[in-house]
C-alpha cells in the first residue's frame, strides 16, 4: 500500500466533518459568551462609574476569571466540545488555556510544574499581543508625527 492509496482509504473510512453544524455551533457559542460579556459591561456601567469605553477592562478581567473557574470545575471543556473555536477565540479561551495547562502539570510540583508551565499556551498570546500592540503604536506614532492623522 503506497501513500496515495492510504490517504484515499483514510478519507473513505473516516467520518465526514459536520462543517455547517460546527460553524453554527461556534457562532452561537461565541455569540452567547459575548452576550454575557455585554451584560457584565452593562453591570459595571450601571453600578460603578464606568463609561461604555472604560467598562471593557473590568469586563475582560471578569470574563477571564469566570472561564478560569469553569475550567477548574471541569465545565469549560463541555462548552469547548460544543462550541469549538467559538469558545476558544473570545477572551475566555485565554483563561481556559492558562488554567488547563496549570492543572495538567500539577503533578510535576508547584514551582517547576505549575509555575513553569502555566503560560505554556497562553504565553504565545501574551507575547504576540504585546508585540502587535507595540507595532501598531509605533505605526500610529509615526503617522501622528508626520501629521497624517491625529490622536
Amino acid at each position: 500500500m503506497d501513500e496515495k492509496k492510504y490517504a484515499q482509504l483514510e478519507q473513505q473510512t473516516s467520518p465526514k466533518t459536520p462543517l455547517l453544524r460546527n460553524v453554527i455551533f461556534a457562532f452561537l457559542t461565541g455569540g452567547t459568551i459575548c452576550l454575557i460579556g455585554q451584560f457584565i459591561a452593562l453591570f459595571y456601567m450601571t453600578f460603578f462609574d464606568f463609561t461604555e469605553r472604560t467598562a471593557s477592562n473590568p469586563t475582560v478581567a471578569t470574563m477571564v476569571f469566570f472561564s478560569m473557574l469553569l475550567t477548574g470545575f471541569g465545565q469549560y471543556k463541555k462548552i469547548g466540545q460544543l462550541g469549538g473555536a467559538g469558545s476558544a477565540v473570545p477572551i475566555t479561551g485565554f483563561g481556559n488555556a492558562v488554567i488547563s495547562a496549570a492543572i495538567e502539570h500539577k503533578s510535576e510540583g508547584y514551582v517547576l510544574g505549575v509555575g513553569g508551565n502555566m503560560f505554556k499556551l497562553a504565553g504565545a498570546v501574551i507575547l504576540f499581543g504585546v508585540f502587535s500592540a507595540f507595532v501598531v503604536a509605533l505605526i500610529k506614532t509615526i503617522l501622528v508625527k508626520f501629521g497624517v492623522i491625529s490622536w
Binding site: T32, L35, T51, E52
Partner: protein, 138 residues
C-alpha cells in the same frame, strides 16, 4: 447524555434569543429637561432632523448642556463623528453654553436618572462628574 446536553443548551439559546428580541427596541424618543433661560425648542428640531439618533436625553442647566444620545446599530461605527457633528450644530445654536455631547450609553443612562430624580440642587455637580467620567482614559 451528550445529545441531551446539546438539546439543553439549544433550548437555553432559543430562550436567550427570544429575550433579546423582546427587549431590543424598548425606549426611544426625545427627553429634554430645561431649567436655564435658553430655548430648548431649537435643540429638539436638530435632534428630530438627525436620522442616526434613536433616543436623546438633554439636560439644560445654568451654563451646561449635557446631551446623551443612542444611535442606530450601524451608525455606532461612526460614533465619534456623529458626536462631533451634533456638538457643532448645538454650538451654533447656543454659543454661550458649555456643550457636552456623548453617544456613550453611560451618559444616556445617567442623564435619564438626572431627569427622573429631580434633585435640582446638585444637578450642576452631577453634570460636572459625568464630564470628568468622559475624559477618563484608563
Amino acid at each position: 447524555m451528550k445529545k441531551l446536553e446539546g438539546m439543553h443548551i439549544r433550548k437555553l439559546g432559543l430562550a436567550i434569543v427570544v429575550l433579546v428580541m423582546l427587549t431590543g427596541c424598548s425606549e426611544n424618543g426625545i427627553r429634554i429637561h430645561n431649567d436655564s433661560s435658553e430655548n430648548a425648542r431649537k435643540a429638539e428640531e436638530v435632534f428630530i432632523k438627525d436620522k442616526d439618533l434613536t433616543a436623546v436625553v438633554t439636560v439644560f442647566h445654568d451654563k451646561d448642556l449635557l446631551t446623551g444620545v443612542t444611535l442606530k446599530t450601524f451608525s455606532r461605527f461612526k460614533k465619534e463623528k456623529i458626536e462631533k457633528e451634533l456638538k457643532k450644530k448645538l454650538e451654533e445654536l447656543y454659543p454661550e453654553l458649555d456643550i457636552t455631547v456623548s453617544a456613550d450609553g453611560k451618559i444616556w443612562m445617567e442623564a435619564n436618572k438626572l431627569i427622573n430624580s429631580d434633585h435640582e440642587k446638585d444637578l450642576g455637580e452631577k453634570i460636572d462628574k459625568l464630564k470628568l467620567l468622559l475624559k477618563e482614559e484608563t
